[in-house]
């Protein structure tokens, strides 16, 4: 299955998003279609053998929305010197167009600039530059547009257009409202032109109102083109409600203009032009504010995108040359000077410096880097000049992976959002039905008062606009996941977000999660013919081929003492137990109690020491030679400083904390006591970790598993929420629902806290979105009026609807104030 993200234009509310999902989802070969209204993207998973991407685009176009073709061509503007006439411009165009990979070129003689669209994978910018310079022209500073700049420009244009429309409509609708309302306001005598007196000059009055409302309808034309089209296709949306309501008001008023012309002057009391005009104006105001707020909700992605530098200094033939970042290739030697950002991912080959990785991980302390250390895109080189070999460029860099992960997360739906979608799909048709029933009922109930019935009809349509409903969830998810990314917490989707807030049990892997994962040898207790160094050398030699951290610790311990390791003739790793090796003809076993018991090695002579060591939180590794216990090498892994604090925070959130380890029970219990673990699952084989998680789930618990993502992949996948910590590897990102960039356990309660707050925010948004509708519809339908209560003027209904959208967005933006408790502590 292929996955694509398509930009979709023209959506106005949840009903539009749902309609697209429904239509695309129905196409054969489409596995999944999900629309994010806030970011205007369609995320689609499809089988390219069954359905072409073009067919998907056509299906969306057919129902009235625009799929914006995103060419992967890069746009660049090149100032060119030396042109003298049109022939020069044409010559440059001809030469550049011939280069393979150039999509289009346009040279403007007047501005002396060439605008070129090209595919960076096929042709380098330097090749284009060379081609131009070869025919005798000079290439000056190049300006390249990137996706973030283009997106920003488009959003700004959208905001400007909406504001312009709002201002134009307000210029006409405010005086229109004054003319309509001034004569009606009791107790206050407002200035009013005598020539517009509705009693004495009803036709002039009506025509002036008509002329003033027409420009408003003009700038609001989209409500009609989209709304009626959706209605025609039996999928009415928010625009349909506005279109029906304002058209009813306008048409009835127009009818009354003719009535006045025919001599029925009392029809001047039945003009509703100001209702139509003000409704459109207020909804445009709501849309403008929405567009501004939406821009802010997606700031996290834009910020991330903007972190990457645009150029890099590479060594070419021994010389340092500054080139666009897209031209850096794997294997290039990149030079980074102090104060510059790292342009691509790679490994340091020369130099020594400190790198500030806070923009990626949130870790404020600069990290020392030397030869052999990895450096990452967008991190900041602070002190020294380094040279590194580029290993990951373009979309493979850690930054690009993070951006993609956050983008995907923002496009995904939380289950609660899907519920909102289902409701919104039925909402509009139900509202139209309520409006019609209420209108008809009041028409007959008032003995044929068409004016009253029409007011009811329009009010119900307008107050019921589900404008805010479509924004309620995605805006909160966008801000929440964006905030997480700022704090080094990558949440992979709306579903992960929603499940995380329900977690009541967390299982931590011990080694590398609760502990530093760098065990060291603490005790060497010989019991046979070997002395301590001899025992250590034997064990280290046997463990040399082992990948296990405990084995590596023994090897490091021996190397630290300068002990020369022995040659190993045979080696076998026994998962969950230890290793078996042959050294100098001797059969060496090194491992835990299980291994010794299986191999029938008596541990009687070592029980006292091993119990003592385990009680101290150390892991005793038994070493047996030719079937006899030869000694114990104890290895201990230091508990992370943040572990205790993190577990306390989790307890404060009401979460039970468990620890899972292959270590023996005594050692595990000792570690658990140190950090406050509630439940210990010890002596668990790696392949059984997932089962342990399953057992906890069988108790009815919602379980999160925290591990490094590499060794714990099955357990992470089994858990309700898998949290990979301190790893930005592909495997971690694949298997985990949440990826914590730092190795700080305190990010776990932070992630859970963020999740709870985001879900709470979504619920608040849904309340605001629905609340106006639920309270407003009965009032608008005249239910209160039946008992002598108030009616809802259509203009107030429109104001309430704009307010609901603004309320939802403002509430979502409150999430931006989220601070990790560790951050709050530091600030205090």
């Amino acid at each position: 299955m292929d996955k694509q993200i398509l930009d979709v234009r023209g959506m106005t509310c949840a009903a539009c998003a749902q309609r697209i999902e429904k239509i695309v989802g129905k196409l054969p070969g489409v596995g999944q279609a999900s629309v994010n209204l806030a970011s205007e993207k369609l995320f689609v998973e499809y089988n390219p053998d069954t359905v072409a991407l073009n067919d998907i685009k056509k299906a969306v176009d057919k129902i009235g929305y625009e799929v914006v073709e995103k060419s992967d061509a890069q746009n660049v503007t090149i100032p060119i010197g030396g042109m003298t006439c049109a022939a020069c411009a044409q010559r440059i165009e001809k030469v550049v167009r011939k280069l393979e990979g150039v999509e289009s070129v346009n040279v403007n003689l007047a501005t002396e600039k060439a605008t070129i669209a090209y595919h960076p994978q096929t042709v380098r910018l330097s090749a284009i530059r060379e081609a131009i310079e070869k025919i005798g022209y000079q290439v000056l500073n190049v300006t390249k547009e990137n996706a973030a700049d283009e997106d920003r420009a488009r959003k700004q244009k959208q905001i400007r257009t909406l504001w312009t429309k709002f201002i134009v409509s307000a210029i006409f609708s405010l005086p229109l409202l004054y003319i309509a309302m001034a004569p009606m306001i009791k107790g206050v005598s407002l200035p009013f032109p005598a020539g517009l007196n509705p009693m004495n000059f009803p036709l002039i009055y009506a025509l002036v109102e008509l002329m003033m409302v027409l420009p408003v309808i003009g700038v609001g034309y989209r409500f009609y083109t989209v709304g009626f089209k959706a209605l025609w296709q039996r999928s009415p949306n928010m625009d349909s409600l506005i279109a029906i309501g304002t058209t009813a008001a306008f048409s009835y008023s127009l009818y009354n203009v003719f009535q006045i012309a025919a001599g029925h002057f009392s029809a001047v009391d039945s003009l509703y032009f100001e209702t139509a005009g003000v409704i459109i104006t207020l909804i445009l105001l709501g849309k403008s504010l929405e567009a501004v707020s939406k821009g802010r909700t997606s700031e996290a992605i834009k910020k991330l995108m903007g972190l990457a530098p645009k150029t890099a200094i590479v060594l070419q033939n021994g010389d340092e040359k500054e080139i666009p970042i897209d031209e850096v290739e794997i294997g290039d030697i990149v030079v980074v000077k102090p104060g510059s950002s790292i342009p691509v991912d790679g490994t340091v080959i020369e130099g020594h410096t400190s790198i500030d990785e806070s923009m990626l991980t949130g870790e404020s302390m600069p990290v020392d880097k030397k030869a052999g250390d990895m450096v990452y895109t967008a991190s900041l080189n602070t002190t020294g000049t380094v040279r590194f070999r580029a290993e990951k460029v373009g979309s493979d860099t850690a930054l690009a992976q993070i951006i993609k992960l956050v983008e995907d997360a923002q496009g995904s739906k939380a289950p609660i959002a899907q519920l909102a979608d289902i409701v919104s799909g039925y909402f509009v048709p139900v509202v139209v039905a309520i409006a019609m029933i209420a209108g008809i009922a009041w028409f007959f109930g008032t003995g044929g008062d068409l004016k009253f019935a029409l007011t009811i009809f329009i009010s119900v349509l307008v107050i019921a606009c589900p404008c805010a409903l479509g924004l309620a969830t995605p805006t909160a998810i966008m801000v929440g996941t964006g905030k997480g990314a700022e704090n080094g917490i990558l949440i992979k989707g709306g579903e992960a977000l929603e499940t995380t807030h329900k977690i009541n049990t967390i299982v931590f892997d011990k080694t590398g999660t609760i502990t530093e994962g760098k065990p060291t040898v603490t005790d060497v207790i010989p019991m046979g013919t070997q002395d301590a160094d001899g025992l250590l050398r034997l064990a280290a030699s046997a463990e040399k081929a082992s990948e296990h951290p405990l084995g590596q610790a023994i090897v490091n311990g021996a190397q630290a003492k300068g002990l020369e390791l022995l040659a190993v003739e045979g080696f076998q790793s026994i998962t969950g137990q230890g290793i078996e090796a042959t050294i100098g003809g001797q059969r060496i076993l090194a491992g835990n109690r299980k291994l010794m018991e299986e191999k029938k090695i008596s541990l009687a002579s070592g029980e006292v020491d091993s119990d003592r060591l385990a009680g101290e939180g150390k892991t005793p590794m038994y070493v047996a030679v030719d079937g006899q216990l030869s000694g114990i090498v104890a290895v201990a892994d230091v508990v992370k400083k943040s572990s205790r604090a993190a577990i306390e925070s989790l307890h404060a959130l009401g979460i039970e904390v468990a620890m899972i380890t292959g270590d023996n029970r005594k050692t595990a219990d000792a570690i658990a006591r140190q950090v406050g673990i509630d439940r210990v699952l010890a002596e668990v084989l790696p392949q059984d970790k997932a089962n342990e998680v399953k057992k906890l789930q069988a108790e009815g618990r919602k379980v999160a598993m925290v591990g490094d993502g590499i060794n714990d992949a099955p357990a992470l996948a089994q858990a309700d929420v898998g949290i990979a910590i301190g790893s930005g590897t592909d495997v971690a990102m694949e298997s985990a629902d949440i990826v914590l960039m730092r190795s700080d356990l305190r990010d776990v309660p932070t992630a859970i806290d963020l999740s709870k707050r985001t879900i709470r925010n979504i619920k608040q948004n849904l309340f605001w979105a629905f609340g106006y509708n639920v309270i407003g519809i009965p009032i608008a339908a005249g239910v209160l009026h039946l008992f002598g209560g108030p009616l809802l003027n259509p203009i107030f209904a429109a104001a309430a609807m704009s307010l609901s959208s603004v309320s939802v967005l403002t509430n979502a933006l409150r999430l931006k104030r989220f601070k990790a408790k560790t951050q709050e502590g530091k600030e205090n």
Partner: protein, 239 residues
Amino acid sequence: MKKNTKILFAAGAAVVVIALLVVVFQMVGGNLDVVGKQSVASFDAVLQAIPDQITADDTNGGWSLLAPDGTVRFIWSKDYSKSPLHDVMLELDAKPFVDAGLDTTKLPSNYASFDGMLMVGTKLGNEEFKYSDAMTPLSSYEQIVKNYRASINYHTALDHYGVKLGDGNMFEWAKDMTKISATGKDQDKDIVFVLNPEPLIAAGVDPAKVVGWVYAQVPVEENGKTIQVYKFLKPFNIV
């Protein structure tokens, strides 16, 4: 929406709007003052309904419309350059008001008292009118519509036109003497003589004691708003 489609749509909309305006203009014969225009037709209907009550009034240089009971008449001038007193006025029997306590010496300057009659009205202008056709009661009324349009008003609730005589005094007549167009009910007040009671009360009249005039609250237009005020009314159903 593509640019060409937008342009076409806008052009289409413009054509529709222009067509609508043309239709409206044609309906009203190019005269947007539908109230003024229709008031002439309605006034003519009144004149035709009571031809015996319509006479020339040489004393006042105008025309007179006498109430069916003979106690009050509406007078409108033919030539404002020659009106001796007012251009538009009511002349009424003073006796009901005198009997109710009126001291005519305390009446304001827009009132004149002569021979047991009260005259109240206003001067609209001083011009000599040019008549294209014959000088008739209707054409003299038309001059008011044409030159002093602000003196003519229409009231929706009562479905009445009226000539303002100054200081809250009016002569009103029904737009349609058969029914009230707003409600569809019968029109039983085809013509109404309307007096502002305040100067009369200030001059000593006890409204409760006035015979032959109804003292009641009626809706009137003020600054585009409808307010309720007390008036002395003498309505007649002539058809």
